[in-house]
């Protein structure tokens, strides 16, 4: 990146929630960090796209039972989707509260988003436990390998996100609303929203076509 990004008005923002900055130096540091985080998000997106491609290849070449018709249950996927979609909205409210310096809003909305994420993980855990009980484990066939790999990687990301969010809340609590930690919440919200986009791809590619077959 070159320094041509700065103009007389200060710093032009990268995509993401714009925050008010106390000075141009802080603004510049925040925007550089946000752009770096976008590079990570895009590389993560490439990983998920390839996991879904792997799933499609393994599904097509799958020769032994069980297939999607016996394994996929929308009874889990649908409430999981609603929880994740809603948590994206509530985390947005947290960043809006941060922008307007409403501390209680930041704590409350962030915590609610993490609780919804934890609910998503609980449902996914129940789904996976049910699969294990029926013997639908990854090593059975190609379809199950791809299924567990793609959905498990997303679930792992959500779990890391929940831990990250709790650490952020603790940092706000201990250090107050200083610029460094404010910019961390912006990056955390980008991460969380991107995981929601990945989940849209997962239910569009894996759950819904899989349940159509039945």
């Amino acid at each position: 990146m070159t320094d041509t990004t700065t103009d007389s008005q200060g710093v032009r923002p990268h995509a993401g929630i714009p925050l008010e900055h106390p000075d141009a130096e802080t603004a510049h540091a925040t925007e550089r960090a946000v752009f770096g985080f976008w590079i990570f998000l895009m590389s993560d997106l490439v990983v998920f796209a390839l996991l879904l491609a792997t799933y499609a290849v393994l599904l097509k070449g799958n020769s032994s039972a069980p297939g999607p018709a016996e394994v996929i249950e929308l009874a889990y996927a649908f409430p999981e989707t609603l929880l994740l979609l809603t948590s994206t909205l509530t985390l947005t409210f947290a960043t809006v509260a941060l922008r307007e310096d409403r501390a209680r809003g930041v704590y409350g909305w962030t915590f609610l988003s993490l609780a919804l994420g934890a609910g998503f993980l609980a449902l996914e855990g129940a789904e996976f436990a049910g699969l294990i009980n029926k013997g639908h484990v990854p090593q059975v066939n190609g379809f199950l390998s791809g299924y567990w790999l793609a959905i498990g990687t997303h679930g792992l990301h959500v779990a890391i996100g929940v831990v990250w969010g709790l650490i952020l809340i603790a940092q706000f609590w201990i250090y107050g609303f200083c610029p460094a930690i404010r910019s961390r919440l912006v990056r955390f919200s980008l991460y969380w929203h991107m995981l929601d986009v990945v989940w849209i791809a997962i239910f569009t590619v894996i759950y819904l076509p899989g349940s159509l077959v039945s």
Binding site: H14, P18, V46, V57, L74, I200, Y207, P209
Partner: protein
């Protein structure tokens, strides 16, 4: 209502409607066969685009040139690697039949 809240609520409502439509097609068989698959795929694409605009605030008017270049680069990478993998592996599968 503040503009920043309006776009989030509109994005959430549109996203919810598309989710319900896609799950409805799969659950209740509103459409069948290839048409159902195409409809679900389109709903997913539109929903992902809505999320990028409403929640990730991708907006090329206000953002920097690097953002556009980064996204295009990632899109090209995904198109080459995903498209190429599916093409080669499905062709291979076809030849093995």
């Amino acid at each position: 209502m503040r503009r920043v809240d309006a776009i989030h609520l509109a994005g959430y409502a549109a996203s919810l409607a598309l989710t319900l439509a896609a799950f409805g097609i799969a659950k209740f068989g509103w459409l069948d066969g290839t048409i159902a698959l195409v409809a679900i795929g389109l709903a997913g694409l539109v929903q992902a685009a809505i999320h990028l605009r409403a929640f990730l605030h991708l907006d090329f008017k206000g953002s920097q040139r690097e953002d556009l270049q980064l996204l295009l680069f990632a899109a090209v990478l995904i198109a080459i690697m995903v498209g190429g993998s599916l093409w080669i592996m499905f062709d291979l599968g076809h030849r093995m039949m």
